[in-house]
Each structure stands twice: as structure tokens, then as C-alpha cells.
Symmetry: C2
Amino acid sequence: MYSTRVPIRALSNPIRQFSTTTRLQALSGLKINSDRLWQTLHETCNWGSAHRYGENPIDTGMARLTLTDDDAHVRRWLAAEIQKLGCTLSVDQMGNMFARRTGSKKSAAPMIAMGSHLDTQPRGGRFDGILGVMAALEVLRTMNENGFQTNYDIGVVNWTNEEGARFPKSMCSSGVWAGAIPIQKAWDLRDIHDPNVTLRSELERHGYLGDIPCSSDARTGFPLGAHFELHIEQGPILPENNRSIGIVQGAQGYRWLTFTIHGKDAHTGTTPLSARQDPVLAASRMIAASNDIAKRHGALASTGIIKVPSNASTNTVASKVTFTLDIRHPQDRVVHAVQEECLQSFAQIASQNGKGVAVDWTLDTDSPAVEFDPGCVASIQVVANELVGPDKSMLMTSGAGHDSVYTSKHCPTAMIFVPCHDGISHHPTEYCSADDCALGTQALLEAVVHYDQVQWESAAAGSE
Amino acid sequence: MYSTRVPIRALSNPIRQFSTTTRLQALSGLKINSDRLWQTLHETCNWGSAHRYGENPIDTGMARLTLTDDDAHVRRWLAAEIQKLGCTLSVDQMGNMFARRTGSKKSAAPMIAMGSHLDTQPRGGRFDGILGVMAALEVLRTMNENGFQTNYDIGVVNWTNEEGARFPKSMCSSGVWAGAIPIQKAWDLRDIHDPNVTLRSELERHGYLGDIPCSSDARTGFPLGAHFELHIEQGPILPENNRSIGIVQGAQGYRWLTFTIHGKDAHTGTTPLSARQDPVLAASRMIAASNDIAKRHGALASTGIIKVPSNASTNTVASKVTFTLDIRHPQDRVVHAVQEECLQSFAQIASQNGKGVAVDWTLDTDSPAVEFDPGCVASIQVVANELVGPDKSMLMTSGAGHDSVYTSKHCPTAMIFVPCHDGISHHPTEYCSADDCALGTQALLEAVVHYDQVQWESAAAGSE
């Protein structure tokens, strides 16, 4: 067994550590097949392609919602490819697919996984999640054709319902695997368009309700030795900084709140401003204030949804308004500080205009900041340095949630980001160039090989 | 014929003018029957009562949408009452009902009308419009039982579809009468819940598609010599100032605009504030700014509706936002100035946050300020002074639109306001006390009698 945590000093200066580890080759000598990767990715996108936006065959988005017929097709295809490669396929009770390729040491230790997801948003693109799984498959294919063996077993994971777009719980099945979401709750999730259909009924329909408990528990479930995830950045930071590889050290903390501002409906023509309880005005001042507060803290505060009752009219002060607030920062204490200042500011605003409004709020989601495993991050940093150099790579924090956020609670985890055009994601025109897909896949291969070597040697040194 | 405008000096100091007109009695000596008024109003509210909120029989609101079966019932009842009083009923091609009571001089001049409407909002109250028609009927009843005759013919008008709640065009049939709305457009209005039903098809169904052209034209239509309208204030100004009669000199100008703010959808977790085009943030700052600008001008600016696309989500910057802006002031130049400053401010805001947003806007309604007729206003002021004194009455401007706004374009017009509880209107709990209903009705009677006398004497003096 290798340890699940590398020594802390690895975090403080990982490059130096590995550059002095003389026995390690920084790169494997293997080379992934860029054309095969690109072709495979787009061929499998025929299952679920939608929202054509251009004339080239691949100029479409995707609508491959989890456990639809299209998703079942691509799952069966993946299962067949895994078998062709001589790997073992395991499916757990959430339909998570685990492909395992035996390492040279025939160790019983949990495999080093490369995971992501094949489901998409209803108006999604061809790269979010899909690239991570196709890259992992390409890594196995490259190793197979080169007769290359890692020390430990390695493998691929396709996590079910990462998007939460059809069954509304994002990172759903990695969440169950990590023990953060009760499986019954996940099974009972209803199709947002057809309440007669549950996630479990769709698992059953497609034959993807596996036997293995969905758990990281070593005795009953399918534990992982590590989890590496290649993903498009979904933001503009890499392209704006002219970098091609993001070494993802962790994920931002975020809190989602919903505010309900209670005013009083009144005629806009007959009610003086001083006599009003105007929730739209109050909410507007609150949203503006939240932005000012976030800016002062270098944090993010965003309102995606604002709603007045359906009977609202141009000449009536609305009776109430609801709006969401999404606060993010890599440090939880900053997320909390922004929330606290917003609450104070909103209370002030509520009493400032006319006769004031009442404010209710709920905390809908609390996702603390995540720090990925220093050993995994170090391996990515070493190989990124070799592949593109420090000027073309950068350490960063994931703004979005990913399956890796949940896996990080139970196994060493890190992510590799590659740029996507204009930072656009969750949109049909989402695009990652063939070169960037290939580079990310090569980095994934190298990181896994490097990590496998480091772990093996560290374990060997420990047993000496 | 009497002139349609009294001399300008009447406006500059109407009270003094009339207090020095020695031949005129300020009050008629008639007394309306308060109990009969209250009973009649609430009895007729059985047609369309809805939204019970308390235990007393009258503790309900109203849902008597125009040209529904309930509205047809109350129309037939009104027609019968008019006949009982010996008045002539005319119905025009918009279903407007005109009841005419012959004056002592048997003049062929257009009648002095007391008008309002019997239709309500779907969640309306028992007083908005209804009080004006029931008060007018009570004035005729009082005159009849006292054998009182005005000089000119007087009468009652029930205007069709004032609310615009079922067929979406408010002050619809007074608008057609005034030539502001083409009759075909009004006839073609569709029921908001059933597009197979038009306003014209409902007029036909109930037998209210009259023969008389809906027009103020003296040769073809049903011209009016004057239009007095008693109405609840629908605002808090009278109760807050402890006044019982509002002498309404005119109606505010207002403009309704719709703004569409075009941003770009982006992931709230992965998109730095500096890279965003966030329409919710921009719209919020704009709405706050419009309020600040309106306050500086002593005007009203209100946003009743704000909408993001239905696929908006907590963790996505919205692609666009639409919001309405309703700007009001008694002076058109102030309405225009507020609009101009808002447009300038919005343009600045659009470029201020992140990568900026684009702003589109439309002017949906432009209703210039209306000044009511100085002679009509003067008559109301004289009788209010006699009835309650200057400490309990006040000159004011209507914040809302009324049929009187349209009639004022074609005949001398003014309105009398009475307080409603907490300024609440367009709501089931809308309430005007029996005493205030009676006082308003007495004021309506006195104003019509006074105006009739002034006009007759002025015409007689002119012919001497």
C-alpha cells in the first residue's frame, strides 16, 4: 500500500523536491495519439449531439443528459472499449463505471484513477466532462499499444450525473461514493420533466444499477488510490494569461443563498416613494452592494436568478422579490466574511427606502473550499514544467465544482485544466482545440505515470 | 350651448370667484341617502364578489371582469334602475352605457355626465370604479325623490373595460370615445385567457354592441357637456394628510419604458468579475440609479417587473435581463428630464462593470400630463369648501389613469377623490368607509349642480 498523503514539504516547494529526486524520469517517453483522441471524442459525441451552430461536422453542442438513451449508448461503447483493452469493468449502485488496468506489481492497492463524466447539460458542449473520460481512455490505449505498465493498477472512472441537469443534484454519484449524499436520496431524484422517472428507475432500465455499493469503503465499495481529472477550465484565466495547462490546487469554497424580500404591492402612480415598501428597489440595491463587498474582498458574488411574482405589472410595486446569491473564494473565511457583510448591508438597505422591506434568507448550499492533494498537484506541476515550462502553465483554483471535489475527501486528488475558447462552457459553442485536448491528455498520462512512480518508490523506501 | 371652457381667471383663484358670485347658492339643499348608497353598492357587488378576507358579508373583494356574465348582470340591473328613474339609456358600439335625465331647460346641449366603470381587476375591490357609478345613480335617485331639476340634462356613464384586465387595454372605451384608440383595435382585443374570445364577441353575446358610434362627435356619437368622476384615491395622500375630499386638478404624465440588458451567460465560479458581462448587476445598478434620479426631481420612478430567462440558474451569470421603468410627474418636462437622466446614467452603468453590457429600450406608453377643466375643478372646490372646509380637502393630481383622462380631451372634466384605507386598491381588501362614500357622493351631487348653475348663468349672461 502506498500512503494516501505525501509529506507536507511536497506542497511547500514541489518542483524542487522532484527535481532532486534523481531516480525519477520526469516524462514517460510515451506519446498519446492526438488524432485518435480527437476522432474518438467527436465520434462518441454523435450520441447526444444537438444545437448545431456551424457547418463543420463537429459544430454542434451536446444534449446528453445522464441516463438517457444517448448516455446509455456511450456507456455501452465505453464498456466495449474497456474490454478490448483487456481491462476489468466494475459498475456500482449509482452506475459509476470503473475500468481497471493491472499494474506491473500486481498490487491489491486501490487503482490510480483518471475520472470525469460523460453526461452533459441540455445545452452543453463537447468537452466538459467528456474530454476527461476520453483522455483517460486514450492514456490506456497509448499504454497498451506501447506495452507500458504502471506499478500500481490504474484506471478510468465515468461518474454518473455529474451535471445534475436531469436529476437535480450536481456531482451526484461522486457525492454518494464519498458518503456526502445518501444513496436513497440520489436514487429518488426525479427527472425534472417527468416526475414518474427516477434516477434509480433509469439505472434499472439501462442495466446500470450495479452490484457494488457506491462507496469509497475499502471493504465493500470501490476505493481509489488517487483521482486525476483533466477538464476544460470553463473560465477565461488560462487564455487571458496565455497559458495552456492549469495545475489545479483546489476548489473555491462557495455558498449559495436565496433571499426573499417582502414588500407590499401598491400602485406606482398613486403611492409616493416615501410610502412604499418596494422589494425590487431594495433587491437592486442589495445586489449592487454584494458586488461592491465582493470586490473589496477579491471574492466573487453573483446573482443569477431574480424573480418577481408572475402577476407583477409595470404599474404596480411588486409584493416580493426572490434572488440568489453565490459567494466564492478559495478561502472559507473570506466566503464567510463576504456573507456576513452582505447580511449587514442588506439589513441596512431594507430599512432605507420608503417604509422598508423585510428580508428572509436561506443557505441552500455550503461547499467549503477544497485543497487538493499536494502529491498529486506536485506530479502535475513536474510534468507541466517538462511539457510546456513554467511560462505556459500556472497554479490555479477551480471556480466550479467537479467530481474531484468529492473524491478529494477520500483519496489523493488533483486536476489538470486546459483552456477553452473565450472561457465559454455549458454552451453548444464550448470549444477546446485539438492541440489543447492532446496536451492535456499527455499531461494526464505523464502525471499518472509520475505519481505512480513517486508512490511506488516512496512505499519501497518506507519498507526498506 | 354653454362654453366648454370657463374663463381662465377661474383657475387662478376659483374660490374667490365663486364666493363673489352672489347669485349662486353654494349647496343645493339636497341630501343623498347614505344608507341606500351603501346598500346598493354592496348588493350589486354580489355579481362578481370574490376573495373573501373577513367574516362580515361585505368582507370580500371583486372579480367582475368586463363583459363577463357578472358584468352583464350588473349592466342589466343598472339599465333597469335607469328606466325606473325615467331616464333614457343609450348604449354605444363599445357597450358604454349613457343614462340621461332631462333638465328643466330642455336644452339640446350634451348632458353633464357623472361617469366611472363597473368592471374590476381579477383581484380587485368593491370601490374602484363601482363607487363612481353607484354615486352617480344615487345622485339621480336623490334628485328624483326631491323633484329637483338641473338646468341642463345630466346623466350617468358606465365606461366599458376601464381596467383592461380581461381585454388588455386600460381606459379602453373612454379611449375609443375620445378618438385615442381605434374601435377595431379595441373590438379585436382578445381575452387574456381565451384567445378565441374578443371584446366584440363578448359585446355581441351580452347584447351590448350598441348602435351609436363610440365617439364624442356631436353629429354621430354621444358627446358630453362635462364629465365628473368620483373615485377612491388609491393612494395614501388623503389619509396621511387627514383629508376627506381630494379636488383633482389633473393627472400625472407618465412614460412606461422597457429595458433589455444584454450580457453573456458565464459560470459564476470560473469567470472573474473583470471578465463578466453581467446584466443582473447592471440592471440592479440602473434601478437604484433611477430611484436616485427620480428623488432629485420629486418624481416617481418604479420598476414593477424584472425578468431573467427561464433557464437562469444560481451559478450562471444571466444572458440578459428585462425590466420595466414607470416614470411619473405632474409636469411632462420633469418626466422627460428623468427619462433623459436615466438613459445617460444607464449608458454609464452599462460600461462600468466587467466587460460591460448592451442596453436596448423601448417606449411602451407615453401618457402626457393632463390638466382638468378649471371650471369643473372650481365647482368641486367650492362645494368641498362648503362641505368639509379647506382643512379637510386638498387640491391634488391623480397618480393613476382614469376614464376622465380621456374625457378631458373632449369635454370639461374633473375628479373627486375620497380616501381609501391605507391607500390600498386593486386588492380584495380595498375599502372606503360608508361615511366617505356618502361624503364623496354628496360632493359629486353638489359639484354637478353648481357647475350646471354656473354654466347656465354664464350662457345666459353671454346672451344678454
